[in-house]
Symmetry: C2
Subunit: 384 residues, 2 copies
């Protein structure tokens, strides 16, 4: 198939910031793009060739959209998987595959997948309802502390709770869930692996993630991670093995814990471009978005090593502000060395909403990290 | 003015490939953009917020378009300058200024500007008509060889002729022109300078240009130029002085000759992002397009040094092919290390038409140069 000069159409489910950055790299290759999103204010509305309004969880919306394209990809996991399966049967190339999405969408199934494939992850117990978790504690088959996670639709800061006593279970929805052993860890790491339909596979360097203590959102991503080489290699091996186990096509971001005795445990995966790879736009030979395109179009994968060290700072809405967004002091941070803001184009801010990110690059990763702190303390995402 | 969250509008005159790459960086900052171009198939049609159809040389088209924006810039010099002057008087920020464009649009006036500002350029004589050039040769006041250049609308490969005997003048249009001394040179160099309304100014490294012998179009751009440091510094000094002499705002690309005795002579300038800066997208801390935006929006300028060495190869239509374009072997070159194609999105190819470019980056500039040759000999821009 000739992506560069024919009637080829690439479909993207979701029109948020990841889609927006993916679209940016499709422009480089002049690939014809169609985007489906439920919001008329989606960041992807411009820069796509066709923007379609529709609910990503609706079978008909996804099916009818998918029938118009040659290759279909996602920028968000919450899409109608039955529609994807039907499209696959009719010959549309769907990356990631419906089967993979079905596994990943459900955290219990995702954990079982790791177990079945001998991939390291923390011990867990599966429950049909949260009420059963309470019973298990009462019967002594489960002990606090542990991490409660709803099986469906669990995202950063939602559907996850650290349970230290039975009373912490109060107020949680009575849904399918898992209780995960609370493993103390030194670092949260991530590795993004790209894999093509032909089976070519390449990994980006291991990155280190620092989380905001309250919002449970990534605050800094540091590339490369400042960890010993053998630990990094272990994390890379796990990530490559995970991508292969899924027989994955496209990007797979594998989030992992580095325990106190340097064990690597998979936390969760995202089958798409990921927040932990944004610094690749400025720091790597190939950005994660270009790499995702190369992978799903079965083109040769690009170099994944870094030109320079990179640190990524998430720009989230400041507490206490809701409404039309203002990026206070943005021109000040643009005066710092190697700083590039990425503004996602959401009109409204609210506390902890992801509004953009800032990349800081430097030959010296410690210098980049230092400037990142200055960026973090200077720019404020507030409202008018 | 708050570019990032208000009703601010940036206007771009011209919707070609330079505009397209400029638009790409406006997405990063979520800047609202309006583009004016005469072709409904312009590469800028997508990725701009508003696309307006209109003739760039038409007073009313440019004036009415400009009245709707806050800052107006160009991606091509051939625009109606009277309209720009009227807009400036009404408070629209026009970068580059109408005065600068008027000087640059006419090659005779451009050369006089260098002379008046003690900027080094080759000796020349100005003529009202080409017929007068012939008379000057007949009278012995001008001797062959020299370079004939039409004063107006001279571009790469057009409006320029090396005159070795009187007969070479035959067929040339009888227009205002200059006869420029033919200076033998070792290298063609270029330096891009960015300057803000506040007067902050930064230069990118000196690049070396290799021209296609027949088409008179740049074939390779090599960054950094492989020349002695003192020669590079001389070229940078000339470029900075030129930008200041114009009191320029935005990018100014200064093309220069390095003579056999290492003199630097200005060939011509372009007051906008330029072909000699495309490798900056992958090789520099700040791309020339981001830097142009920073400059015209009076934001702090970004770092202009390089992360890695970069070579740029122009993708021009192969001889003998016209029609719907095909990029033969594009996936082969994407398998080479550090190679990124940029396809401009023009549907039709014709011999020597600029259809895209390819950037090759590597820590070792000689390695990048080697891969660039492989790229050049592998990819072919042909028609269906």
């Amino acid at each position: 198939m000739n992506y560069f000069s024919s009637n080829f159409k690439l479909g993207i489910l979701g029109g948020g910031q990841l889609g927006k950055m993916l679209l940016n790299d499709t422009r480089k290759f002049d690939i014809y793009t169609c985007v489906l999103d439920s919001s008329n204010e989606a960041p992807c509305k411009i820069a796509s060739n066709e923007f379609h309004l529709g609910d990503l969880m609706d079978y008909d919306a996804v099916y009818n959209f998918g029938k118009q394209v040659d290759v279909l990809t996602i920028e968000i996991e919450n899409v109608n998987v039955d529609a994807l399966e039907a499209l696959e049967k009719e010959g549309i190339k769907v990356y990631p595959a419906s089967k993979t999405l079905r596994t990943i969408q459900n955290k219990a199934r995702q954990k079982l997948f790791y177990k079945d494939n001998n991939l390291p992850t923390s011990p867990f117990t599966r429950f049909a309802y949260t009420s059963e978790v309470k019973e298990a504690i009462d019967h002594g088959s489960l002990t606090v502390p542990f991490v409660w996670k709803s099986a469906q639709f669990g995202y950063d800061g939602q559907g996850v709770k650290i349970v230290k006593s039975v009373s912490d279970l109060e107020g949680l929805p009575n849904v399918e869930c898992i209780a995960e052993e609370l493993v103390p860890f030194k670092n949260e790491l991530a590795v993004i692996v790209a894999r093509t339909p032909s089976g070519e596979s390449k990994n980006f360097p291991v990155v280190e993630m620092e989380f905001h203590p309250e919002a449970n959102q990534v605050e800094y991503v540091i590339c490369p991670a400042r960890i010993p080489e053998d630990v990094a290699q272990k994390a890379i091996d796990v990530a490559l093995k995970t991508s292969e186990a899924f027989n994955h096509v496209g990007l797979l971001a594998v989030e992992m814990f580095q325990t106190h005795n340097d064990e690597i445990l998979i936390n969760e995966v995202a089958p798409r471009p990921h927040n932990s790879g944004h610094q690749s736009i400025e720091a790597s030979y190939t950005s994660q978005f270009e790499q995702h395109l190369r992978a799903i179009l079965d083109l040769p994968l690009g170099r994944t090593d870094s030109k320079v060290g990179g640190v990524m700072v998430n720009l989230v809405g400041a507490e206490g502000y809701s409404g039309n967004v203002i990026y206070e002091n943005i021109s000040t941070i643009m005066g710092l060395d190697g700083v590039t803001p990425h503004i996602y184009g959401k009109k409204q801010t609210r506390p902890f909403r992801k509004m953009g990110h800032v990349t800081i690059v430097d030959q010296d990763i410690n210098q980049a990290r230092k400037i990142a702190e200055e960026v973090k303390s200077t720019i404020k995402v507030i409202s008018e």
